[in-house]
């Protein structure tokens, strides 16, 4: 029914790709979702029918071309369909972070002027109703999950399934209008608008055209030879550009299957059941999994533990080389083969990584230890570098040229250059159209020739042509004596320790560097349990003298390694404290994608910063926290401040200063 309207040969919109897939891949699964304990699936033909019904239903509700449709919910087929249905009607989908509190949504909903909102469940509907106290203009709320919705005023609210029913009933009446709108979509129509979380200031609406998304999807699918046989698990926030590229752009271009987990808590089980062949996860996920594996091995029997450590050592030695197809001795190959049978295979199976052909990580630096661990098991994990404004891809690592400290070569179709100040610039078919209603920011980010400033400082390695990123360009500063200050470089080194979840290094314009550290409750909590250390709360554990001693040892090791870098040896940490609360996006200390907001932290913990620099041993502090439902509370704590040994050049300087 739909294919006849597909512009043949001109795949210039997501709806056009959908029609092509329905015609070409027909009965192959397009979407799966685990619900009621069973994987429910929809073929391309079925999905196309569902989406068309939804689009017709939205027409019945009078969705107009150029309208903005906000989508707030977890990864579910219905929400992806909602985005495509909105596009069919000529409207622009705007996915939002579902864990954002109402206050944060207010700005975005007001800024884009959404008339329609598709909500996942009652929780999201409640937030929208709260937002509506300040934002006018939301006319329709469509919700997916009917639970708890019976008592709501339904004069301008509909269940998504009901919208589809009305759509089906109106098919003959509104079909021609819908086809006209689909035919009106071209390469320059807006495909999606995504709000960047922004480490500073208000979020910006990044407008991405069909050209941006489809060209990028095409290039990146070719780069990694992705076909309709891939399986992916869609679990990353729908508001994040990565999910849009993987689960919409690439999935529709290549025609592969998008699997939606039952819920956030079942992710591990669902991964194992699906066994994705193409997988993306931020370093945090890989770190978390490795920590879990290590903790469980500590709890395992002695023989199993021995077996595990013995073969992991073999894998660390020869695994990456085998993965890259290099020469490896016969004995080592044999040992590795045995390890695969006894350890790596079962471990990969447990993690759901048995079938991964291409895996990516990005967003933050990944610890070399962690990165190599996964690669040594034979998982083709690679790094890429990208951002929302580029439709993700700027650089990525080709198979066989993978390293933990670079982010690879420019992706197909992308040009990259380094500015005079060391900032990385790029130009590509994926380069965004503009920031919505913000010509000022657009102009300062993208120049007339189409070059976009990334805000990151980096350089190309001469020998390999791979890009290396040092830090955010604006975070790179100078210390009081004029030496270079690159906080993230040091923070990343700290975060590679499983006990440290997050670190904030201070020192811009100061005489020496200091750090605020967040412990990882999983790792430290397990350690406490094994050593019979009792604690009643996060705060108490964080302040425990033995925890302080462990962290101090980590910081000293980091100092030793920082001292080796000539340029950055002054970034060694002289004093540190362990924070009494986890840095949290709900408190504004981090972005939703979990990047630290330095300005907010500097302001909020000003008393702690002072204490780090005035030489005091401890500080009493009070901090406001926001609970998940938006209520606020205060926590009080007395934090100890610890002095740390520094090495090499910096040490000499400290002595001189005294």
């Amino acid at each position: 029914m739909t294919e006849q309207h597909a512009p043949t040969g001109e795949l210039h919109s997501i709806p056009a790709l959908l029609a092509r897939n329905a015609a070409r891949f027909g009965d192959r699964p397009a979407y799966r979702e685990k619900e009621f304990g069973i994987w429910q699936s929809w073929s391309w033909v079925e999905a196309a029918e569902e989406i068309r019904a939804l689009a017709l239903g939205l027409l019945v509700l009078d969705l107009k071309p150029g309208d903005y449709v906000a989508i707030i919910g977890r990864n579910r087929p219905a929400h992806y369909w909602g985005m495509i249905a909105a596009q069919m009607c000529g409207a622009v989908p705007v996915p939002l972070y579902q864990d954002a509190v109402a206050e944060e949504m207010t700005y975005v909903l007001e800024h884009c002027g959404a008339r329609f909102v598709i909500c996942g469940d009652q929780e999201q509907v409640d937030k929208i109703l709260e937002v509506e106290e300040t934002v006018k203009g939301i006319e329709r709320i469509v919700y997916t999950d009917k639970r708890g919705m019976r008592k709501y005023d339904h004069s301008r609210m509909n269940a998504l399934a009901d919208v589809q029913e009305t759509g089906r009933a109106a098919a003959t009446r509104l079909g021609p209008e819908l086809d006209r709108r689909i035919a009106g979509l071209d390469y320059d129509s807006t495909c999606v608008m995504l709000y960047t979380s922004g480490t500073t200031g208000k979020p910006k609406g990044v407008v991405l055209s069909n050209r941006n998304i489809i060209e990028t999807a095409k290039n990146s699918c070719e780069f990694d030879h992705l076909t309709e046989r891939e399986e992916i698990v869609a679990y990353l926030p729908m508001a994040w550009v990565g999910d849009f590229i993987f689960s919409m752009g690439q999935a529709l271009w290549a025609g592969f299957t998008v699997n939606c987990p039952e819920g956030a808590h079942t992710m591990m089980t669902d991964m194992r059941e699906i066994g994705p062949s193409y997988f993306f996860a931020p370093p945090r996920v890989f770190e978390g999994q490795l920590t879990t594996v290590m903790i469980r091995m500590e709890d395992a029997g002695r023989f199993k533990r021995w077996l595990f450590h013995r073969f992991v050592a073999v894998a660390r030695r020869v695994g990456p080389a085998i993965l890259d197809g290099q020469q490896v001795g016969f004995v080592d190959r044999l040992a590795y083969g045995l390890g695969r049978l006894l350890v790596y295979g079962p471990l990969k199976n447990t993690l759901g990584y048995s079938r991964i052909r291409v895996g990516y990580t990005a967003g933050e630096a990944i610890g070399p230890e962690i990165f190599d661990f996964y690669r040594s098991l034979g998982i083709n994990l690679k790094q890429l570098y990208g951002q929302t404004e580029a439709s993700v891809f700027i650089t990525q690592q080709p198979d066989g040229q993978v390293r933990s400290d670079t982010v690879g070569v420019p992706s197909p179709g992308v040009e990259v250059k380094i500015g005079d100040n060391g900032e990385v610039f790029y130009r590509s078919p994926g380069t965004f159209v503009e920031y919505y209603k913000n010509p000022g920011s657009t102009a300062s980010t993208k120049d007339a020739a189409g070059w976009v400033a990334t805000g990151d400082a980096g350089f190309f390695e001469e020998s390999t042509g791979h890009l290396r990123i040092i830090d955010r360009a604006k975070d790179v500063g100078r210390m009081a004596d004029g030496s270079m200050f690159a906080p993230k470089y040091v923070e990343n080194k700290l975060k590679f320790y499983p006990n440290i979840l997050e670190a904030v290094v201070l020192g811009n314009g100061r005489d020496y560097c200091t750090a605020m550290i967040n412990i990882d409750l999983n790792a430290v909590g397990n350690w406490a349990e094994r050593n019979n250390i009792a604690y009643a709360s996060y705060q108490e554990l964080a302040g425990h003298p033995q925890v302080y001693a462990t962290i101090k040892a980590h910081v000293e090791e980091v100092n030793r390694s920082v001292a080796e870098d000539e340029m950055l040896s002054n970034c060694q940490i002289h004093r540190f404290l362990v924070l009494h609360k986890e840095l949290d996006p709900d408190d504004g200390e981090m972005t939703r994608t979990r990047k630290v907001r330095r300005a907010v932290i500097g302001e909020k913990f000003a008393d702690l910063v002072d204490a780090l620099y005035d030489g005091s041993d401890s500080i009493h502090t009070q901090t406001e926290v926001t609970y998940e439902d938006g209520r606020k509370g205060r926590i009080k704590a007395t934090l100890k401040i610890e002095d740390v040994q520094v090495f090499g050049a910096a040490q000499a300087q400290k002595v001189a200063a005294q």
């Binding site: 619900e35 009621f36 304990g37 639970r147 708890g148 019976r150 008592k151 808590h265 079942t266 089980t269």
Partner: protein, 270 residues
């Protein structure tokens, strides 16, 4: 005997009398645990029984669920008088319960535990069950479907295959509720559903109790210690003290009842 159907402020429907207790007296030897108590439970309502320690709340619940047979008094269910019954017979009538100190099968998975709640609904014969053929297969699929809906409803998908013994207390309570719900009861009896829970777990549990009542229209009778929880949840409250009924009415009425205040704040008994 039926009252008019009422619609509450939040849009729920409360029907006529579903169960009525008439002059119940329960003795253990010389101790009168329950002294001549009468009250009713209406269809679709949340009815709470509260009282200080030893007031006879749990005994009352055990009378309703058939564990204890009172020496005096009558129990009417859906307009018919209920004679002495075995607990499983009561369960077949459509009355399911949870226990104060959790009675789950520790070695079995969450899923299997909840499946046992469906036992009353299984009709297939022994042979058919053993061969998993015909009626048994159909039944199992049907029952599993219902159980999965309950799992979805109580948001415990992630622990479906976890043995119950490994779960923390708050989750065990939720699994127990799930098992009771799987039986598709007309009356759900909850024995101190919030006992030993922290504030967050209590809030979650309260939400689930309200949702069960709202979504499935299940009538709920609950015993609870925590006054705050009871006052927020219930439509009507029975207050017991030393085996007697000292108050009965809406939370507001009960809150202002002098006898109830005395019982809770403590007044010397003669």
């Amino acid at each position: 005997m039926n009252q008019q159907t009422e619609i509450t402020a939040d849009g729920r429907q409360i029907g006529g009398t579903l169960m009525e207790m008439k002059n119940i007296t329960l003795r253990f030897g010389g101790v009168e645990a329950i002294k001549n108590i009468s009250f009713d439970i209406r269809e679709g309502e949340i009815r709470a029984i509260i009282g200080p320690n030893g007031a006879g709340k749990s005994s009352m619940l055990n009378v309703i669920s058939g564990f204890y047979v009172p020496q005096e008094g009558e129990i009417w269910f859906k307009g018919a008088r209920r004679g002495p019954m075995k607990p499983y017979e009561v369960a077949r009538l459509g009355i399911a319960r949870t226990f104060q100190n959790i009675a789950l099968f520790d070695g079995m998975t969450v899923l299997d535990n909840i499946m046992t709640g469906r036992l009353n609904r299984m009709r297939a014969g022994f042979l058919s069950q053993a061969l998993w053929w015909g009626a048994a297969e159909r039944e199992e699929i049907e029952n599993r479907e219902r159980v999965e809906r309950v799992i979805d409803f109580l948001e415990i998908q992630n622990i479906r295959k976890t043995p119950v013994g490994r779960l923390p207390y708050g989750l065990k309570k939720r699994v127990e509720l799930a098992r009771a719900l799987a039986a598709e009861p007309q009356i759900l009896l909850l024995d101190e559903p919030m006992a030993g829970m922290n504030v967050e777990e209590k809030e979650d549990m309260s939400r689930f109790v309200l949702d069960v009542n709202d979504e499935f229209g299940t009538t709920i009778a609950l015993i609870e210690h925590d006054m705050g929880v009871v006052m927020d949840l219930s439509d009507r409250v029975v207050v017991m003290d030393y085996g007697r009924k000292i108050g009965d009415g809406t939370p507001d009425e009960v809150r202002n009842n002098q006898e109830v205040i005395d019982a809770y704040l403590g007044v010397a008994h003669d």
